[in-house]
């Protein structure tokens, strides 16, 4: 199995099978009004649509099952994973979870999933004081227990952190913890002031703070210690423009879509502009004819300093950050320090 695909061969789906969650994180992009879940038979139809598109496009699929908290729908989640295990056009899938519902039994069952590449859990800091202030009391302990339970069974684990003023100075210490725990990969997303995160807007990093953080993370990554630091994100390019392991063109409009619990399709979960419904419109209509996607695909539509940037072919900033800071998803990325 090829667990790391080339962007030109791959098509990525982020699939939120539920928006229900057992946590109430302060920075969450959900707005507190969960969409209705689809029954398993309908989830199967969603999967059919994905497979049909992958076959037509001759792309290898990758998929993240997430929520809400996906293990709230444990039965459906495992049924879907079993099915994807049998679909040749999917190369692999990940599960993105808060980790709180991963018992020993669940970890053992995950180990049997043939195409499960890794389980991603979220941690916001190196210690409970930081993490639990965002994710709720006891969350740090639960997440660490889940990591250990899964590592014991040989699963590949990734940790994701949402970076803000609240935790950015703690990231080097967090990476130390992850190294000690044997976590395989570490990734960061910038806080987007949307959903509940809207009330966290004052915690957005300034561009200078982001620059300082990304530069320090890059220095740590160069040491190539245990945990591999994933830096494939827009704006990260600025730190080391000639290093292909740093930065990436946003996948919106290029090779990715987000599917919500009721089948609504977004360009990206962080850019929640509905562009259709996978069950009623189908993927071909959405992918080929969405006005939003076509606007994003044409780099000349990007405004401000992003438009004239020499890294335009490889970056283009984060459209969601532009949208929630200015109201225009084609505006410049406000956290870029150029």
């Amino acid at each position: 199995m090829n667990a790391e695909l080339n962007a030109t061969d791959e098509f990525y789906f982020q699939w939120h099978i539920t928006e229900r969650c057992n946590k109430h994180c302060r920075h969450c992009y959900q707005n507190g009004h969960p969409a209705e879940d689809l029954a398993l038979v309908k989830l199967g139809l969603v999967l059919d649509r994905m497979e049909e598109a992958l076959v037509k496009w001759d792309r290898q699929g990758s998929l993240s099952f997430t929520g809400g908290e996906p293990f709230i729908r444990r039965t459906e989640l495992f049924a879907l994973m079993n099915r994807v295990d049998q679909i040749p056009s999917f190369a692999y899938y990940d599960v993105l979870t808060n980790g709180s519902l991963i018992s020993g039994d669940v970890a053992a069952a995950l180990k049997n999933q043939r195409k499960l590449r890794r389980v991603q859990v979220s941690l916001e800091g190196s210690a409970p004081a930081i993490n639990d202030a965002i994710r709720g009391d006891g969350s740090y302990r639960e997440t660490l227990d889940a990591i250990r339970e899964m590592k014991r069974r040989g699963l590949t684990i990734s940790v994701m952190t949402t970076i803000s003023r609240f935790n950015y100075q703690d990231i080097p210490a967090l990476i130390e913890v992850l190294n000690d725990e044997g976590v395989d990969t570490f990734a960061m997303e910038r806080l987007i002031p949307e959903g509940r995160g809207e009330s966290f807007r004052d915690q957005l990093l300034s561009s200078e703070e982001l620059k300082k953080l990304y530069e320090s993370i890059y220095e740590i990554a160069l040491q190539k210690r245990g945990t591999r630091i994933l830096m494939y994100r827009p704006v990260f390019n600025l730190v080391a423009p000639d290093d292909s392991s740093v930065g990436a063109l946003c996948s919106v409009g290029n090779n990715a879509l987000t599917i919500m619990p009721d089948g609504t399709v977004y360009p990206c979960r962080r850019l929640p502009i509905p562009i259709g419904n996978i069950l009623t419109d189908g993927l071909f209509s959405i992918w080929y004819d969405s006005e939003v996607l076509w606007k994003i695909r044409d780099p000349k539509n990007i405004q401000g300093k992003c438009n004239n940037c020499d890294l335009l072919a490889n970056c283009r900033g984060c459209r969601a950050m532009a949208y929630f800071c200015s109201g225009d998803y084609m505006a410049e990325d406000p956290q870029c320090w150029r």
Partner: protein, 102 residues
């Protein structure tokens, strides 16, 4: 073979949409029904864009000669070849009720 004669009105097949990023020399026709995608050149895209407006064969041919500055003899032969290819690929059809037979 496409029987093209004066007065024949052409149309895109249902579900065909056209999109381009001209600065990147990127021209496509897509079928939102079958999922098929067709990479085009600038000339083919111009022809299909005109067809999408409901033009008839005579006007399309005349506009083609003018736009691409080709002789009527060579231009018509090239355009007919192109139209037959579009028809074969199920990108265009003849508008009207003659069972869409071209």
């Amino acid at each position: 073979m496409l029987a093209l004669k004066s007065g024949v009105v052409l149309a895109l097949e249902p579900g065909i949409v056209l999109h381009s990023l001209p600065d990147q020399d990127w021209f496509y026709a897509f079928s939102v029904i079958t999922g098929d995608q067709f990479r085009l050149n600038r000339t083919s895209f111009w022809v299909l864009t005109n067809i999408s407006t409901g033009t008839d064969w005579t006007r399309l041919r005349d506009d083609f000669f003018k736009t691409f500055k080709v002789s009527s003899e060579q231009g018509e032969e090239d355009l007919r070849k192109l139209m037959n290819e579009f028809y074969k690929q199920k990108i265009i059809r003849r508008e009207g009720n003659e069972k869409n037979k071209l």
